[in-house]
């Protein structure tokens, strides 16, 4: 459809009664359309006829509104612009160019309030348009005195409720205005600083007739599209697919995950990567960083040692890794040392009250043994600092001493070292100062977020979209 300058006296050609179709029907339920955009289908039981999308400039209000418009279906949405002409909007949001072409675009920049209300009557009366977006409502409303504004808004609400059309108002007014009280739903888009990076968050202030179990969600505008992140869900390891071996990246080892490789550029031989995590980060999210490098090392004929996170289930570790690389490989070139399990200490001829130095000796010996079996003599050491801290809480200095010895030894070898470090670790700063690279994981609004501190990276949402073992990282922009 083409851009038109709205003319108050002349009904738009598209609204000619003979060319109009009947109402949108049950399949176009408004709550379903909003839900499909916001990913909140399970929460949307009530009909939302009028929705206010508010937020400061640059938060993505127009993109969200256009996504809702897109969900209306081709030719069933109208975009009423009081700010910019269509051509400019297409330049601002190229990803939405098709949506803008598929829907009616009405340029009302120079129209007054009564003409706009007349326009809404024309748009809603034939029941052709199921979604009408006002971007922005403020631009018009600010020309009206408060009482007149309230009445104009009430008129719009009445028109929406009678026609069955959904009106979406875009507003840059951060404070509550009269329309806040009239609309059925309010979404606010905000940008917040998190660890020196910007995170986008949308807040559901109200959705009438709808339970709101979670009010805040993280979203991204990557590639000019609105993508929201629901709470992190633990992957179903039964759905694990065959692991694809990933080659080394130049002189660096692959993480066994395209997403991690793209983020960090691989593991340089002799380097130590520390993964710092908040206490509320699910272990399954950490496993998405823990397992792929091990699996890739093993599948490339190399060896690996794993000191698992506290609470790790030995059988599950074994089952996942066996499924990925086969039992023979796991038995031959992987050593899992559960230091909280006394049987491992006994196997290694260590007393129950083993010292950090004694554990270090086990690791050194195992490394030497596994190095012989490794195709290129390299070994990956993946270690939970938390597990060691729990064991040696009264002797952290020794633990630190041993860890630093390991890091130095590793630097001189071609091995790779990944340390999982809880945020509140008493030896955190010392470990980090010795690490060649450093990433952080934390949870916000139920979404697991990750970023590299060293090297500095953007911030990413961690999910399991393709494989339960590998992380999917979506950049927050």
């Amino acid at each position: 459809m083409t851009t038109r300058k709205y003319q108050a006296q002349k009904p738009p050609a598209q609204l000619d009664s003979q060319t109009l179709t009947a109402g949108s029907g049950a399949e176009d339920l408004i709550e379903t359309r909003i839900a499909s955009v916001l990913g909140l289908k399970q929460f949307m039981q009530g009909p939302i006829r009028t929705l206010l999308i508010k937020g400061l400039a640059g938060t993505g209000k127009t993109t969200v509104a256009l996504e809702i418009l897109k969900a209306a279906g081709k030719g069933k949405g109208a975009y009423v612009s009081s700010r910019v002409p269509k051509e400019l909007l297409e330049t601002h949001i190229p990803a939405m160019k098709e949506t803008l072409h598929n829907q009616e675009f009405l340029d009302i920049r120079l129209e007054d309030a009564s003409s706009v209300l007349d326009l809404v009557m024309k748009l809603t009366e034939p029941k052709k348009y199921v979604t009408i977006v006002f971007d922005s409502w403020d631009a018009l409303a600010k020309e009206l005195d408060p009482r007149e504004r309230l009445r104009a808004e009430k008129t719009l609400m009445a028109l929406a409720h009678n026609s069955g059309a959904q009106l979406v108002f875009v507003s840059e007014e951060p404070t509550a205005t009269t329309i806040d009280y009239l609309v059925d739903g309010i979404l606010e888009l905000v940008m917040v600083e998190e660890q020196d990076r910007t995170v986008r968050e949308f807040i559901i202030h109200k959705l009438r007739g709808t339970k709101i179990p979670q009010r805040k969600y993280i979203y991204t505008l990557l590639e000019g599209k609105f993508t929201f992140f629901g709470p992190y869900t633990i992957p179903d390891y039964a759905k694990m697919s065959k692991i694809t071996q990933r080659p080394d990246i130049g002189g660096s080892y692959s993480f066994g995950s395209g997403a991690l490789d793209r983020l960090f550029g691989g593991m340089i031989p002799g380097s130590t990567l520390s993964i710092e995590y908040d206490e509320n980060v699910p272990y399954s999210a950490l496993r998405a960083i823990e397992y792929p490098p091990i699996i890739n090392f093993l599948s490339r004929g190399r060896s690996a040692i794993l000191l698992p996170l506290p609470g790790a289930n030995d059988e599950m570790i074994s089952s996942i890794l066996t499924k990925a690389v086969g039992k023979g490989v796991v038995n031959d070139r992987l050593r899992t040392i559960n230091i909280l399990r006394t049987s491992d200490l006994k196997t290694a001829s260590l007393p129950k009250n083993a010292t950090p130095q004694e554990i270090h000796e086990i690791v050194t010996n195992e490394t030497a043994a596994l190095r012989k079996k490794s195709a290129d003599k390299s070994v990956l050491l993946v270690k939970s600092v938390s597990a060691l801290e729990n064991l040696f809480a009264s002797d952290l200095d020794s633990l630190l001493e041993v860890t630093s010895q390991e890091i130095i030894t590793l630097q001189q070898s071609h091995d790779a070292h990944i340390l999982f470090l809880p945020k509140d670790s008493p030896i955190r700063s010392r470990i980090l100062s010795m690490s060649s690279s450093y990433a952080k994981l934390f949870v916000r609004d139920g979404t697991v977020l990750m970023f590299g501190v060293r090297p500095h990276t953007g911030i990413y949402a961690l999910q399991h979209l393709e494989d339960p073992i590998s992380p999917s990282l979506t950049q927050l922009v």
């Binding site: 007054d112 009564s114 009206l144 009445r151 104009a152 008129t155």
Partner: protein, 100 residues
């Protein structure tokens, strides 16, 4: 136009204005193409129904009747508009009374 006609036209503007605001009232009349002509009550009622539904129309028509009653110095208690009422019928009754 006679006294009733002038009062009715003014009451339509006044009643709609009271509920919808000036811009809303203008928009409705513009939309109904009734900016100059005196609305036929039955046609007016039908068009309001299309735009605002039964409840919205009732509120608007009640506001128009109240406005008209004030203009013609009628007592509202005589008009029985508290519940649903026939707008055309009421208009005819007021017109008849005004002429009497």
């Amino acid at each position: 136009m006679g006294g009733f006609s002038v009062a009715f036209a003014s009451a339509v503007h006044g009643g709609l204005d009271r509920i919808l605001g000036q811009s809303g009232a203008e928009a409705v009349l513009l939309h109904m193409k009734m900016t100059n002509d005196l609305p036929d009550p039955a046609e007016f009622h039908r068009k309001l129904l299309t735009l605002f539904g039964a409840q919205g129309t009732l509120s608007l028509e009640r506001a128009i009747v109240k406005d008209l009653a004030i203009r013609l110095s009628w007592s509202l208690s005589l008009l029985k508009i508290e519940d649903s009422f026939d707008f055309s019928e009421t208009m005819r009754a007021i017109e008849k009374g005004a002429k009497a």
